[in-house]
Structures are given as structure tokens and as C-alpha cells.
């Protein structure tokens, strides 16, 4: 990668390259890619033609490469605007160099413990990065006690977003909290409501730290359908209907974050609202494509919080379907697959009859088989197909709707296999 070599020669190259570019940075555990693409779409529609990196290139080397490829011979970026997704562990180095105008922090969940360690360590890295960007407007998820705590010690302007109690859904999965105790005083939090994981109306009776009132608030959910959602958002006191061209509650958070970020950048929030209605993320993030007789949707998962959200999404959709789960344990997936035991596959097993076929794949398919057996699926109903070509072949003849739930590297591999088999045109454009 050219970025890696260049960084050796000039460690602060990124700050030189990004000097004249007005940048938005998106970081946090879940939803970085989707939120970035939403913001990118709004910027594109506004004619700003932003520079954007893809999720695979969200470390300092990848971000530097992206800027370098778009720079003139004098070493300044030709693009006036940029929407940059940044790995949360890389935020410490990247933020001070990018000097962004706005930073969106989506949420903090336990992720790959083998790589990042505890969630509070990740929070500390993001905070360190933000200390080097005092002029950036922060867009913080008000419902995440870890994320919104960034405002306690930083003096930056803040735009909060969140889902209000009036719109809080009933969570179906047994959710383990990643933040039970107050980040400020370590007493146990109380909650007036919760949306999922540790997100919701938290407050600490001991020190008074509580969910801040959001500036961009989801006040009602009209509909969460299999393909899209419609919600009411109150933005600086004005209510708007917002259609989000993606299903599932976590994408409502991503949408609210994108609106907050566009607003923080100084643009009209209606630009973001319009973009959300037609936006398509692609690349495994709730991505639809023509596979089999009834189509398929690929839902990338990376950690228990995100996977439980996909489980809730599956549980809310009706009818017989084929489910494919692919688990890899490469470095980018996390080498520790213990987290599958924190995912409420039991919720799916309650309606085991909906799953005409259930297929496990990936390097750790055997671990999934055990997990599903203990969740309540019949072991002899679980098919193991590790060869992606064979998996693609059998799915091409499938009558029922297909849901594919892969971890990161299995998504890359299986998606590439499907693209070569189906041809790019059979995918929805990402």
C-alpha cells in the first residue's frame, strides 16, 4: 500500500495532504460504513463531490493513500470535501491530522477484545484523538453512555442525536449491557427505557450523569418494514417525516447520526433527509441482490450488539426463509469467536419452523453448528457448506427468500464469489 511507505518517510503526511480539505470523520464501533455512505450521499447530492474512503481502508495508511491518490503534485488534495470513515483505534492518530470540521461518534460496544481490549480503552483512544481537534463539532449518540461521556471532558461544540422514549421499540433479544456502571462515578445506571444493548435513557442516581437531550431526536417510529423504515424526527424543534431506505433499528440510529453530522457541518439537514430516502449502502450492509427465486439480503455482523440487532430484524420479518450464517476468525473478524454465545440465537429458534433451511459456513462453521444446537435448533437440520462455490450454487436454486449473515472476511470472500457467479449487474448498486 503506497500510504504505508509514504508514512514511513513523512509521518504527518496526512496532515499535509488534508490541509485544504473540509472533512467529516465517522468513528465508533458499529455503523461507521453505513453512516459514512449516508453522509457521502448527502454531500454528493449537494454537488460537493467528496473524497471518501471505503471500510477496508479506514486505518491511517488507508486514509493517507486515499488522500494521496487524489492529490496534485504539490501535495494538496484536489478534493475540497471529504467523508472519512476512521477505525476507532486509529482515531487517536488520524483526528489531529485530519482536523475535521465535524466528527460523528456512532456508539461504543464491545468488539474484538483480542485486538482492542476493553471498551473503555477504545473510548480513551477516541477522546485522545478529539483532544487534538478542538474546533470540530462533535455529533454524539446521546443514548450511548460511553459515547456521550466524551462531552464531559471536551470543550467542543456538540450536536446530540438519539431515539426518544416515545419511539423506543421493544427489544426482543436478551441484550447484555456493555456499560452497566457509570463512566463518571462507577455507580450502577438506572434506565427509563432502552432501545438495544446499553443504549437508551440512562441516568446515574449517584452523580447525576444522564442521557443528554438530543438535538436530532427520533420521536416516533411509523414503520419498520422488511426493506425500509419511516420515522418522525424532531430536528432543532421542527418535526419531519424521515424515510430510511434500510430496515432495522440500528439504521435509524445511523440515519439520525448522519443528519446530525450534515447539520454540524453547516449544511441544511433536509439534504440528509432527502438522501436517506434513496440511499443504498451495499457491500454486505443489509445489501439486497438477485439470488435464487425470491432474492437475498446480506447482513454483515461484527460483534454481539450488531448481531443481536440482525436477529431482531430476522425475528420481525415473517415467512419461511433460508438462513446462511458464515463465521470466520481471521484477524479482521476477531480471532476469538466466543461472542456467538452472547448472541440470542434462541430468539430465532423460537420460530425454528420459519427456517426451512439453515446453513452454516466459514472457517468456524462447526462452532456455529454447536451454538445453534444449544440454541434449540435440531442438529440434523443444520447443513454445513464450507465451500463458497457450492454454497452459491445451492442458493441459486433456492425458492425461498435468503438471508446471509456473515462476519467481515467471510462477507468479502462470499460476496466476491457471488459477484463472479451472478455478475455485478445483479447486485443493487452500492
Amino acid at each position: 500500500m503506497p500510504g504505508k511507505v509514504a508514512l514511513k518517510i513523512c509521518p504527518d503526511l496526512l496532515s499535509v495532504l488534508a490541509k485544504n480539505t473540509k472533512t467529516v470523520v465517522v468513528t465508533g464501533t458499529n455503523g461507521k460504513t453505513t453512516s459514512s455512505r449516508m453522509i457521502e450521499k448527502a454531500f454528493e447530492d449537494a454537488g460537493l463531490a467528496p473524497l471518501a474512503n471505503r471500510s477496508g481502508a479506514n486505518l491511517i495508511s488507508g486514509i493517507t493513500t486515499e488522500f494521496a491518490l487524489n492529490s496534485n503534485i504539490f501535495g494538496t488534495c484536489r478534493k475540497k470535501y471529504a467523508v472519512i470513515e476512521c477505525d476507532e483505534a486509529a482515531a487517536r492518530l488520524c483526528l489531529p491530522m485530519l482536523k475535521p470540521k465535524a466528527v460523528l461518534v456512532t456508539n461504543l460496544f464491545r468488539d474484538q477484545l483480542d485486538r482492542y481490549g476493553e471498551v473503555t480503552h477504545t473510548l480513551a483512544k477516541i477522546r485522545e484523538g478529539l483532544e487534538g481537534t478542538p474546533n470540530a463539532v462533535l455529533c454524539l449518540n446521546a443514548d450511548c453512555s460511553l459515547t456521550s461521556s466524551l462531552a464531559l471532558e471536551l470543550k467542543n461544540d456538540v450536536v446530540y442525536y438519539g431515539i426518544n422514549q416515545s419511539a423506543a421499540p421493544e427489544s426482543k433479544s436478551v441484550t447484555l449491557s456493555d456499560a452497566t456502571h457509570c463512566i463518571r462515578c462507577k455507580a450502577q445506571y438506572s434506565y427509563s427505557y432502552s432501545t438495544y444493548g446499553h443504549l437508551g435513557g440512562f441516568y446515574c442516581e449517584s452523580c447525576g450523569y444522564k442521557r443528554p437531550e438530543p438535538d436530532v431526536a427520533v420521536t416516533a417510529i411509523n414503520e419498520i418494514a422488511a426493506d425500509a423504515s419511516s420515522v418522525i424526527m424532531k430536528i432543532d424543534g421542527h418535526k419531519s417525516v424521515v424515510s430510511i431506505n434500510l430496515p432495522a433499528i440500528y439504521n435509524i440510529y445511523n440515519a439520525a447520526g448522519a443528519i446530525a453530522c450534515v447539520k454540524a457541518f453547516g449544511m441544511d439537514s433536509s439534504l440528509a433527509i432527502d438522501a436517506l430516502a434513496v440511499f443504498r449502502c451495499g457491500f454486505g450492509r443489509m445489501e439486497k441482490f438477485d439470488l435464487g427465486k425470491a432474492g437475498a439480503r446480506m447482513c454483515l455482523v461484527k460483534n454481539p450488539a450488531g448481531c443481536n440487532q440482525v436477529i431482531d430484524f430476522l425475528a420481525a420479518t415473517k415467512g419461511e426463509r433460508t438462513l446462511v450464517i458464515c463465521l470466520n476468525d481471521n484477524d479482521a473478524d476477531g480471532t476469538d469467536v466466543s461472542w456467538i454465545w452472547d448472541v440470542s440465537f434462541e430468539t430465532l429458534a423460537e420460530n425454528a419452523g420459519d427456517y426451512g433451511r439453515i446453513i452454516v459456513s466459514g472457517l468456524r462453521a462447526n462452532d456455529l453448528r454447536v451454538r445453534l444446537k444449544y440454541a434449540g435448533f435440531e442438529d440434523d437440520k443444520i447443513e454445513i457448506i464450507c465451500d463458497y462455490n457450492a454454497l452459491a450454487e445451492t442458493l441459486m436454486n433456492e425458492e425461498k427468500p435468503i438471508y446471509i449473515v456473515p462476519t467481515y472476511t467471510s462477507m468479502l470472500d462470499f460476496r466476491a464469489c457471488l459477484v463472479s457467479k451472478l455478475g455485478g449487474s445483479r447486485f443493487w448498486e452500492g
Binding site: G117, V337, V370
Partner: protein
């Protein structure tokens, strides 16, 4: 027959997949027609532990440890120690395993008093010991798991290791021991779901609890094809990668 399980501190000691161990014990009891109840014992709650047959204590994040130690020293430490002495079957993983011991000396030389229920102590190390590992356990064959700890644990007189490390670090990366067997306590650094992929160890724990409650009990065999496939694949992969190094 019925086995009563107490899950100690599921509110804070719930790091990656710990509850898989409870699920495995519960299912393997139910599949054999043995009833099972599970009580969650959170911070601030009290329970008479010797009334339970199996107690489970998992691993957690450092951040919540202070709140937990406060609660522990309000009487739960004595409760846990007397239950261990009474012969209640314990499964303790990672942070919970360390906590059953005498003390933890941090890398900065700060000493934390722990429960003192089993003869071991832990010293904070500089590096984290991370990765898939395999150890051999008397009565349960090879055990496969994932370890991720910076503490190095040393067994004291009267304690036996749960197993001998074949590949990986184990208790401290120095003496090839992994975990502890002491009275009816099973302790291990194999965090997360240790039991689902190691059904022999799960049954050994179940049998220990049943024997204590009902006298010598024979366990009906189960079909373990899925568990064995997952177990064998990982053992082979880990030993192969060790051989290649």
C-alpha cells in the same frame, strides 16, 4: 433429579460468551431428563450459596471491578468461601477464577485482596497472553479454548492444575499448568464458552454436582457429533499451527 445453578455476578462478569457455559450445563441436564434451575446473583443481592449445586463465575472488564470488589467484601466473599469448603461444585473462568484465589498483585505492585477460597494467587503481567490454546485434562481428555489475560496465576500447596498445557500459555506461560482442581472447584483461563466444545469436561462438572447431591450417578450418553466435530477441528488446527512454528 434437579440441579440448582447460581450464576454469580452475571451483570458485570459476562465477558464474551460466558453464558455459553450455563447454556451447556443446562441443556446437557435437560437432554438427560434432569431438571435445572438458574439463579442470577447480581451486585447488591444476597443468596445462600451452599443451597446450590453448581456455582458459575465468569470474567469481566477491569472497569467494573471496583464496584464488584466492594460488593464482594460486604459478605459474598465469606459466602463463596464457605460454599467451596462445603463442596459446592464451582466453575470459575478468567477474572472469576483469579478472584477465587488469595490475592491479585497488579503490575504496578498494588495488592488486591480476593476471596481466598482456593490456593492460588495472581500477579499482573506486562503483556497479554492471547490466543487459542489446548490443554490435557485428566478425565476429560484434550480441552480447547481461547485465553486472553494479563494476570499470571500460580498454584499453591494443596491445589492441582485442571490440566497440562499442550499449546498456549495457561496459568502463567511458565510452568505448563492450566487452571485449578481443588475440592469441587474447576477453574480455567479458557474464557467464554469453555464447556460447549468440551462436552466431556461439562459432563465431569455435572457428575461432580450430581454425585454430591444424589450419591454416585451414571450419566446417560448423548450424541456429541456436533461438539466433537468443533472440538477436533480446533485441536487439530492449533496443534498443526504449533508444529509449523
Amino acid at each position: 433429579m434437579e440441579i440448582k445453578i447460581c450464576h454469580i455476578y452475571p451483570d458485570v462478569l459476562n465477558l464474551y460468551g460466558d453464558r455459553g457455559n450455563i447454556v451447556a450445563i443446562e441443556k446437557r441436564l435437560l437432554w438427560r431428563g434432569i431438571d435445572c434451575t438458574i439463579k442470577n446473583l447480581n451486585i447488591g443481592e444476597a443468596a445462600k450459596l451452599s443451597e446450590f449445586d453448581i456455582a458459575f463465575i465468569g470474567g469481566g472488564q477491569d472497569f467494573e471491578q471496583e464496584a464488584l470488589l466492594d460488593d464482594l467484601h460486604k459478605g459474598k466473599d465469606k459466602e463463596i468461601k464457605s460454599a467451596v469448603d462445603d463442596g459446592v461444585t464451582f466453575l470459575a473462568i478468567c477474572g472469576g477464577y483469579q478472584m477465587l484465589g488469595q490475592y491479585y498483585e497488579t503490575y504496578e505492585k498494588k495488592l488486591c485482596d480476593f476471596i481466598g477460597a482456593v490456593p492460588l494467587y495472581t500477579v499482573g503481567g506486562k503483556d497479554r497472553l492471547i490466543g487459542n490454546f489446548v490443554f490435557d485434562c485428566d478425565g476429560a481428555g484434550s480441552i480447547v479454548g481461547f485465553e486472553n489475560h494479563s494476570g499470571k496465576t500460580y498454584l499453591m500447596d494443596g491445589a492441582s492444575p485442571l490440566g497440562k498445557v499442550r499449546c498456549g500459555f495457561g496459568n502463567n506461560g511458565e510452568d505448563s499448568t492450566e487452571g485449578i482442581r481443588y475440592k469441587n472447584v474447576f477453574g480455567s483461563y479458557s474464557h467464554g464458552p469453555l464447556l460447549p466444545k468440551n462436552p466431556l469436561l461439562c459432563d465431569e462438572i455435572i457428575k461432580t454436582a450430581l454425585d454430591r447431591k444424589y450419591g454416585k450417578t451414571d450419566l446417560a450418553p448423548l450424541n456429541d457429533d456436533a461438539e466433537e466435530a468443533a472440538h477436533n477441528q480446533m485441536v487439530q488446527r492449533i496443534l498443526k499451527s504449533k508444529a509449523e512454528k
